[in-house]
């Protein structure tokens, strides 16, 4: 089974800190995605990547950046954390769209 591993389950950070959320997949998937999930707003796509060193903005990229130096790892970076970035962050990967996504367990980030 494909595994998508997010490094932290729960994270508490201070306003203004630079925050790194790490995601690793172990099945050589080309595509990787970062979503945030908020009550009443559903899942919103932040960034995605089709290949190493390649990135595309999703629907809500403001305040975020990403890094994909290796195929298996896709990092989400909050340049200067703010309280409105408190959320559940979900990483996903896929070989191709018809297979659907495999999701990680999520990182619940609280910015205080």
């Amino acid at each position: 089974d494909v595994k998508v591993t997010q490094s932290s389950r729960y994270l508490v950070k201070r306003t203004g800190e630079k925050v790194f959320l790490e995601c690793v997949q172990d099945m050589d998937h080309e595509n990787m995605f970062w979503y945030r999930q908020d009550p009443g707003l559903g899942l919103r796509l932040i960034y995605f990547s089709y290949d190493v060193k390649m990135k595309e903005k999703g629907d809500i990229p403001e305040g975020y950046s990403v890094s994909r130096e290796k195929k298996e790892r896709f990092s989400l970076i909050l340049e200067s954390a703010s309280t409105n970035q408190t959320s559940m962050y979900l990483c996903a990967s896929s070989l191709w769209t018809g297979d659907g996504y495999t999701f990680g367990s999520g990182t619940r980030l609280t910015v205080v």
């Binding site: 559903g42 979900l90 896929s94 191709w96 769209t97 659907g100 495999t102 999701f103 999520g106």
Partner: protein, 114 residues
């Protein structure tokens, strides 16, 4: 515009009774369709997928869904609900095999009463 709509934000059933979670999509293309389940504080797990093969798709944990092109629907069903089915369910659509992007419904919370 391409979209996906889950018709019920909350569904409540008694244990042992059938489950129906409704999903409609809007698109001029042939979609790939998925249902995911999310238990509290967990990631999303794929229940089943439709990718232009059989229109009746069987998934895990006794769930199944039927693709009806004429009705642009992909409703999720289960003959008999179990307490462990209580979770949030997402209908998800992909309208292009090239982009890799999925469009998520807003989710339906399934409550199962003893």
């Amino acid at each position: 515009a391409q979209s996906v709509t889950q018709l019920d934000s909350h569904v409540s059933v008694s244990e042992g009774t059938p489950v129906l979670l409704r999903c409609n999509y809007s698109s001029s293309y042939s979609p790939s369709l998925f249902w995911y389940v999310q238990h509290p504080n967990k990631g999303l797990q794929l229940l089943l997928k439709y990718t232009s093969a059989a229109t009746l798709v069987k998934g895990i944990n006794g769930f199944e869904a039927e693709f009806k092109k004429s009705e642009t629907s992909f409703h999720l069903t289960k003959p008999s609900a179990h307490m462990s089915d209580a979770a949030e369910y997402f209908c998800v659509v992909s309208f292009s095999s090239n982009t890799g992007k999925l469009i998520f419904g807003q989710g339906t919370t399934l409550q199962v009463k003893p």
